[in-house]
């Protein structure tokens, strides 16, 4: 426990967490500090581009691991399964309607790429390498959870909402983040070390700095969301937002250990399973489940689970992964 604690403090005092906290505070204090929407979008393109490419280049460097395909499969299954876990937990812990519970569940089956990025940077600081293809696993885990949520609705809600509209599936699978992440990953695999050398001064050295600014914006957005949706956040929900990532991470831990991943890989799998989507899934829910209340799922995912993972979750996952893999 001491190790986790020291690590958590260390983590809490890193620039990226402090900038996230600055954003939260500024939002609570009603400062007019804002990052223009297009600049935030530009930074997120940069992060996807960089993390994808570096993952690919690392695969190129280490050769394609025999477990790559199995890891992708495991990610796929986890993303399908986790919504059922979340749904059951929500029905027990909270008074959410079927529709709202299914919508929230979809978010927890999917992933948050920024949480993943932050975990990567903590892993690197702790001297852990990880399988480069974990970014591909992240991409694979984005969408399946949405299908599980729609299936849950069809199963438990007789009112007939939540139809899987033609075109929505394609829209989800080809959403910008997935395409850029997977595309950059593949280009990284193809161009390898030589390609990386050319663009490293753009995607490697300034990465941490951009991440700080990006997390400042995330803090602002999360803080404003929390401020406006205070009444939505009943204690049961709030608790769910912190218990669910811990439970999710156990599934990721199991998968990572079964696959025999490196300590860093196990930790990243835990983080992916623990994290909740706040971009792709909300957009899909607005189309497919407009009756679900966006304040609930956005506040939970971005206002509770994201900060929880960033501050406490990641150090916990790291410690557990190190302990159980003997790193």
């Amino acid at each position: 426990m001491d190790g986790i604690f020291a690590l958590a403090v260390d983590n809490l005092l890193s620039p990226i967490i402090l900038f996230f906290a600055l954003g939260l505070l500024a939002a609570f204090a009603r400062s007019d500090l804002t990052v223009p929407e297009s600049v935030a979008k530009g930074m997120s393109l940069y992060l996807l581009f960089a993390i994808g490419f570096k993952g690919g280049a690392s695969v190129a460097a280490h050769g394609i691991d025999a477990t790559l395909l199995l890891s992708l499969l495991a990610g796929l299954i986890l993303s399908f399964v986790l919504p059922f876990v979340a749904f059951t937990l929500l029905r027990v812990m909270t008074g959410l309607s079927v529709t709202d519970a299914a919508a929230v569940a979809a978010h927890y089956g999917s992933i948050s790429i920024v949480t993943f990025v932050a975990a990567t940077s903590v892993a690197t600081s702790a001297g852990l390498n990880s399988e480069g293809y974990m970014v591909a696993v992240a991409a694979v885990m984005e969408a399946p959870a949405i299908l599980s949520a729609l299936w849950l609705i069809a199963r438990y809600d007789s009112s007939g909402s939540g139809k899987m509209e033609a075109g929505l599936l394609q829209e989800i699978l080809l959403n910008g983040s997935i395409v850029l992440l997977v595309g950059s990953f593949l280009i990284g695999v193809i161009t390898g070390a030589e390609g990386l050398a050319k663009i490293a001064p753009f995607i490697v050295s300034p990465f941490q700095g951009v991440l700080c600014l990006f997390l400042l914006d995330m803090g602002l957005v999360a803080g404003r969301g929390l401020r406006e949706a205070r009444d939505v956040l009943r204690p049961g929900l709030f608790l769910f937002g912190m218990v669910m990532p811990l439970i999710g991470s156990m599934f990721g831990l199991g998968a990572g250990l079964l696959l025999g991943l490196s300590p860093g890989g196990v930790m990243l799998f835990m983080t992916l399973s623990a994290s909740a989507s706040y971009i792709a899934v909300p957009a899909a829910m607005r189309v497919a489940l407009p009756e679900a209340n966006p304040s609930i799922y956005l506040t939970l995912s971005l206002g509770v689970t994201f900060p929880f993972n960033l501050t406490l979750g990641i150090p916990i996952y790291l410690t557990i992964a190190q302990a159980l893999t003997g790193a």
Partner: protein, 103 residues
């Protein structure tokens, strides 16, 4: 200058629904429209703003169509089929247009 009577319809809708709305409009024979960005707003579902919203998943747009009066019902039916389950606002104003042959 010679002007002609027409209707100006304004549909404020979530950005994720934009493509679905314009597809429905085109299917209903409405091929002229203009899409305007929206910075923020307030309604029964609460207040939001483009820069301060929880996640940038949200956001709305405003679609303006100018049509001849006899096409109005078609247009409203098409628009309604899309906005029905969703938040948003549809309003219609009488207007006059130049170059009526375009509508």
């Amino acid at each position: 200058m010679q002007t002609h009577k027409a209707k100006r319809v304004e549909i404020t809708i979530e950005a994720v629904m934009e493509r679905r709305l314009t597809t429905a409009l085109v299917t209903a024979g409405v091929t002229g429209f203009t899409v305007l960005p929206v910075l923020g707003g307030s309604g029964r579902s609460g207040q939001w703003s483009r820069e301060g919203q929880v996640s940038r998943a949200g956001g709305m747009v405003s679609v303006v169509c100018i049509v001849r009066a006899d096409k109005l019902d078609n247009l409203l039916d098409a628009a309604f089929s899309v906005v029905e389950r969703h938040i948003g606002v549809v309003s219609v104003v009488d207007c006059e247009v130049l170059r009526a042959e375009r509508f």
